[in-house]
């Protein structure tokens, strides 16, 4: 199965810029389906980025984060070829993770 996580991490000088896009419905629990029934809440609660065994960013999200969430940030260090691990967990206990190479 293809990963739900897409990431682009580029090392530039002293820091690494990370952009990531995750496939997830991020259902708020307030939207009805075509039959008029509420779609239950389903959203990512925690997203973690790790480099060299150290967390470089933790995101806590609620149902107000848009569908197929996008995030951009940068951290000091990281060089081309280093591994960056991304993992998320949602409110239904589902999760996914991916280890990408910094470019």
């Amino acid at each position: 199965m293809p990963s739900t996580i897409r990431v682009r991490a580029i090392a530039g000088g002293t820091s690494t810029e990370v952009q990531s896009l995750i496939q997830h419905p991020m259902d708020s629990g307030f939207i009805k389906d075509s039959t008029g029934k509420l779609i239950p809440p389903h959203y990512i609660e925690e997203l973690v980025f790790e480099h060299a065994g150290k967390k470089v960013l933790t995101a806590f999200w609620g149902p107000a984060v848009s569908k197929d969430p996008y995030i951009k940030f940068s951290f000091q260090g990281g060089k081309k070829g280093d591994e960056l691990k991304i993992s998320w967990t949602d409110n239904l206990g589902k999760s996914d993770s991916l280890t990408a190479k910094i470019g």
């Binding site: 933790t58 999200w61 107000a64 969430p69 996008y70 000091q76």
Partner: protein
Amino acid sequence: MPTAQNARQGTTRRGALKLLAALGVVGGALRSVAARAGVDTPNWPANAFHSKNQTDAVKALYGKDFTPSDKISLDVPEIAENGAVVPVALATTLPNVTSMSILVPENPFTIAASYTFPAGTAPSIACRLKMAKTSEVLALIESDGKLFSTTKTVKVTLGGCGG
């Protein structure tokens, strides 16, 4: 006497009903706690994210008051045609930032996102949020253990949380 007996029976019945209602409430609460306990991510600040107003949300998330700061840049559109996807960029020149959060007080749940910054991560973040209707966006930044804020209003033409 018939009246006294009726009254007593009435009391008993009311008492029984109250007891049943109380049991129902407790049972429901236990069920929802149990249902939640198994799924919520352990670190996720559930109380804060379930808050429905700004005061409770800030108290649950940080437990302290905030003061406005001009060292925070909050980049949001003035008008969002589609409330389902509102781009938000937040950055600051404040030192030693440990946390940044974005709150939308007019949304059903106040806190949209909260980020934890270890030393070495630049105090800057971009993401996309849903907004139910026109609202202030409140950015909170924890720097040197103190809490700072800035706000901007986004006019939403089409809400992003559904009817």
